[in-house]
């Protein structure tokens, strides 16, 4: 398969997923989009394996590897720091000075909001990865030009 054909298939899958997302919202059936998303990603990986005019060599692997490692290094610290705070709030760890018995300090963030923020952090990881990928691609000469 040619690289452009792969991009075309990728676009079609993305569009289909968008449609299914809307459809599952209409039906109030989250399972539909969840299964469709997994199947979509599997299809993308299978299609990518058949691309013949694009080579993934050791430099590409190194760029991906470095970007992934750096993303994880930043992400787990931020995610854990936030989650520890959230867990403390859920478990109602006593504050200083101690509150009188039976009075609970006001919640800064509700459990639902904590979930949203964690979801937001997960989404931010994608942007972080893209940023690191661009940085390492530049470092390993991806955007170099030559006289040839």
């Amino acid at each position: 398969m040619k690289k452009n054909t792969f991009y075309l298939i990728f676009g079609c899958i993305a569009l289909a997923l968008l449609f299914l997302f809307w459809y599952s919202v209409e039906l109030h059936t989250p399972l539909l989009i969840e299964i469709a998303f997994i199947l979509g990603i599997v299809l993308v990986y299978l299609a990518k394996r058949t691309v013949t005019d694009s080579i993934e060599d050791e430099r590409d692997v190194k760029i991906t590897e470095q970007a992934t490692i750096r993303t994880m290094q930043v992400f787990w610290v931020v995610f854990c720091a936030f989650s520890i705070g959230a867990v403390m709030q859920i478990l109602y760890v006593p504050t200083f000075p101690r509150q009188p018995m039976g009075t609970r300090p006001p919640d800064l963030l509700g459990p639902r909001m904590i979930g949203y923020i964690q979801l937001g952090l997960l989404c931010l990881m994608v942007f972080l990865y893209v940023g690191f990928r661009i940085y390492y691609a530049k470092k390993y000469g991806e955007f170099e030009t030559d006289e040839e």
């Binding site: 060599d57 050791e58 390993y140 991806e142």
Partner: protein, 72 residues
């Protein structure tokens, strides 16, 4: 790590694309190695030097002074 890939390419009248295809990497990888932006693995360095029919030391020159067994 310095290298003479550009010189060897010129000697054999090869483009980056032709060399890249011959050893199974992207043209951008050859360019990155030539510009010393990327140090190839030992495996790739051997592939390149074998393709030109020379020893690895003739294509790749290490500018790092490392101690030898005679120094110890």
């Amino acid at each position: 790590m310095k290298n003479k890939i550009k010189i060897f390419r010129a000697m054999h009248d090869l483009t980056q694309e032709q060399l890249a295809q011959a050893i199974g990497v992207n043209r951008q990888t050859i360019l990155a190695i030539e510009k010393e932006k990327y140090i190839p693995s030992l495996d790739l360095a051997f592939k390149i030097s074998r393709y030109f029919g020379v020893n690895i030391e003739e294509v790749f020159i290490s500018d790092e002074k490392t101690p030898t067994i005679k120094d110890t």
